[in-house]
């Protein structure tokens, strides 16, 4: 009887492992990326990228291990002991660096050449049909170079999946044993793999981590917009107010009051003169 691994294509197997592993690790990486962003550090360049990559390694190893065990149990009925995550992640990463690295170069070249060819084709079309409208031209040109680029990209991804699947198969064949458990027990087995031995400890520490990260988030999050509008008159910082000196204040008030009373007296005098005048008439 053929080994159960022979019943599945290596591409399917590699896809099943890597696709679920990607999504398993994703939320954790997102937390790190979010904290970096809140602190105005870009996780796609420089120190931010390095941090994210470093943090991603243990997350990915754990995620690959978990999903690979599940896939082996579910699809192949195989059980693997030992550090699944480390072995598979290592091979996947090396293959990724080789295949996807060269794929990056190949796709880049295809895009560059494709764009030139697309531009040439458009120029030819314009010779025959000079009124080619711009909107149609853009979409046509886009399709002309993205289709070959997408095909090249797809080929490289398939090559990586095929190679990774081949390695995964070898790994299962050498270190796995067929599970004697029924399907029901196997389902329970991978379900239990997601529940820690000490749930309370994990929940409490996870809650603690979240509270800590929340406080870090609050400290990092800018209060006002990091990208103000150039024309917006931002409120000026208030000038420091002068301290009040009671004695000076009293003197000044007294002087003011005297003047005020003098003015008032003068006004009243004038007023009474006027009334007298009126009465005189």
């Amino acid at each position: 009887m053929a080994h159960p691994v022979e019943n599945i294509s290596s591409i399917k197997l590699a896809w099943a492992v890597s696709w679920s592993a990607f999504w398993t690790g994703f939320p954790f990486k997102l937390i790190v990326a979010l904290l970096l962003l809140a602190g105005q550090v870009h996780p796609w360049e420089g120190a931010g990228l390095v941090t994210l990559l470093v943090v991603s390694v243990p997350i990915d190893i754990w995620a690959v291990g978990l999903t690979a065990r599940t896939v082996f149990l579910e699809r192949l009925g195989m059980e693997v002991r030992g550090p699944v995550g480390v072995s598979l992640w290592w091979e996947g990463a090396v293959l990724g660096a080789l295949v996807l690295g060269s794929g990056y170069y190949a796709v880049g070249t295809t895009v560059a050449v494709g764009q030139k060819i697309a531009a040439a084709i458009i120029a030819r079309i314009k010779n025959f049909y000079p009124k080619l409208p711009i909107a149609e031209q853009i979409t046509l040109e886009l399709l002309l170079w993205t289709i070959p680029a997408a095909i090249v990209l797809l080929v490289f991804v398939l090559v990586w999946l095929h190679l990774f699947g081949w390695r995964v198969k070898r790994f299962v064949m050498t270190s796995g044993q067929p599970s004697s458990a029924s399907l029901l027990e196997r389902v329970r087995q991978w379900d239990y793999a997601r529940v820690p031995a000490d749930p309370t400890l994990v929940l409490v520490s996870f809650a603690g981590v979240i509270v800590t990260l929340t406080v870090v988030f609050w400290v990092l999050l800018p209060v006002t917009t990091p990208t103000p509008h150039p024309d917006y008159p931002l409120p000026q910082v208030e000038k420091a107010s002068k301290p009040v000196k009671p004695e000076e204040l009293i003197k000044k008030t007294e002087a003011n009051l005297e003047k005020a009373e003098a003015v008032l007296a003068a006004l009243e005098k004038e007023k009474s003169k006027e009334t007298k005048k009126r009465k005189g008439k």
């Binding site: 029901l184 389902v187 329970r188 379900d191 239990y192 529940v195 820690p196 749930p199 994990v202 929940l203 996870f206 809650a207 979240i210 509270v211 929340t214 988030f217 609050w218 999050l221 209060v223 208030e238 107010s241 301290p243 009040v244 009671p246 204040l249 009293i250 008030t253 007294e254 003011n256 009051l257 003047k259 005020a260 003015v263 008032l264 006004l267």
Partner: protein, 311 residues
């Protein structure tokens, strides 16, 4: 199902005689068909698969086995099942009628371990906190933005002392105050009262010495003193913030009277009668050389014994 459904309380007969009666019916949650009947015989409830049913005739169910084989059927483990009342399976109760009685549905294998269930439940709460908690502080600050704005300590010209002819008489000054109300530049009509105090009234007002005014940090921004015989009272009644008037009273003569709850104050602002908890609020006042009255529009919380500045 070809044969009629076995009914609750139906008598159950084996090939060699009656053994008991149907007490529950168990349904398969995926196919929505009856998978077992539960038969009570001599006080034990046994789970009999439908495959062992020969025929259902009215109120009796005939099994294809004999009594000895019947006692080989497993006993019902009630904890492995839930009642159809506690589970949401569309159309189940339309297809299988068991009233009165209980239709049972097997508990899924994965849900049988309580510790696992409670871990997932706990995890759900923790992740919920991951979403809710980061928002608490920013949302609180967002809502609180206009609640504790700095005090307005600008001097505002409210009128001229030439309007006052007699001492110890309340004179109302109505003025326009313009201010920034979030994004709007607004103008509001406000009023304060000014009294030219006689020496006795002045003495009453300054019983406790000079009157200082503070900013939000507690620093003195201004001090009123007896050298100025003019006293400005905030137009807001210290009882509950109504607008009071200078009126003549039957027994007390000329007084400040608040029409809302009938608080009465004399020209020095002291409470003569009514529910007011404190005298009228004195405002920082300055008289310019030309006799213009300038005040700081200080506002205190109403209804308190002590002055608590709010604006």
């Amino acid at each position: 199902m070809a044969s009629p459904q076995p009914k609750i309380k139906s008598k159950v007969r084996c090939v060699d005689g009656e053994v008991g009666e149907v007490v529950h019916v168990i349904a398969d949650p995926l196919s929505l068909d009856v998978s077992h009947i539960v038969v009570r015989a001599n006080g034990t409830e046994r789970q009999v698969p439908v495959s062992a049913i020969g025929a259902v005739r009215g109120e009796s169910v005939e099994l294809t086995c004999n009594a000895a084989q019947f006692s080989g059927f497993p006993e019902l483990k009630r904890q492995d099942y839930v009642s159809s009342k506690e589970v949401e399976i569309p159309h189940l109760e339309n297809r299988i009628h068991v009233e009165p009685g209980e239709l049972l549905v097997p508990f899924p294998e994965l849900e049988k371990n309580c510790a696992r269930r409670s871990f997932f439940a706990g995890f759900i709460n923790v992740i919920g906190a991951l979403i809710a908690l980061p928002l608490v502080w920013p949302v609180l600050r967002y809502i609180m933005k206009p609640m504790y704005v700095p005090y307005d300590n600008h001097w505002i010209k409210i009128g001229n002392i030439s309007k006052i002819k007699t001492e110890d008489i309340g004179v109302q000054y109505i003025f326009k105050k313009s201010f920034k109300d979030s994004v709007l530049q607004r103008e509001e009509e406000k009023n304060h009262w000014v009294v030219k105090a006689s020496p006795e009234t002045l003495k009453k007002i300054y019983t406790h010495g000079d009157i200082p005014f503070y900013d939000e940090k507690g620093a003195v921004i201004w001090i009123n003193n007896q050298t100025v015989p003019y006293v400005a009272f905030s137009g807001k009644c210290p009882h509950l913030g109504c607008g009071y008037k200078w009126r003549s009273h039957k027994t007390r003569g000329q007084v400040f009277l608040c029409p809302c709850h009938l608080s009465i104050y004399d020209a020095s602002g002291a409470v003569l009668d009514g529910p007011a908890p404190r005298p009228l609020d004195v405002l920082p006042i300055q008289i310019s050389p030309s006799g213009d009255i300038e005040v700081i529009d200080v506002e205190y919380k109403a209804g308190k014994k002590e002055q608590v500045r709010i604006a």
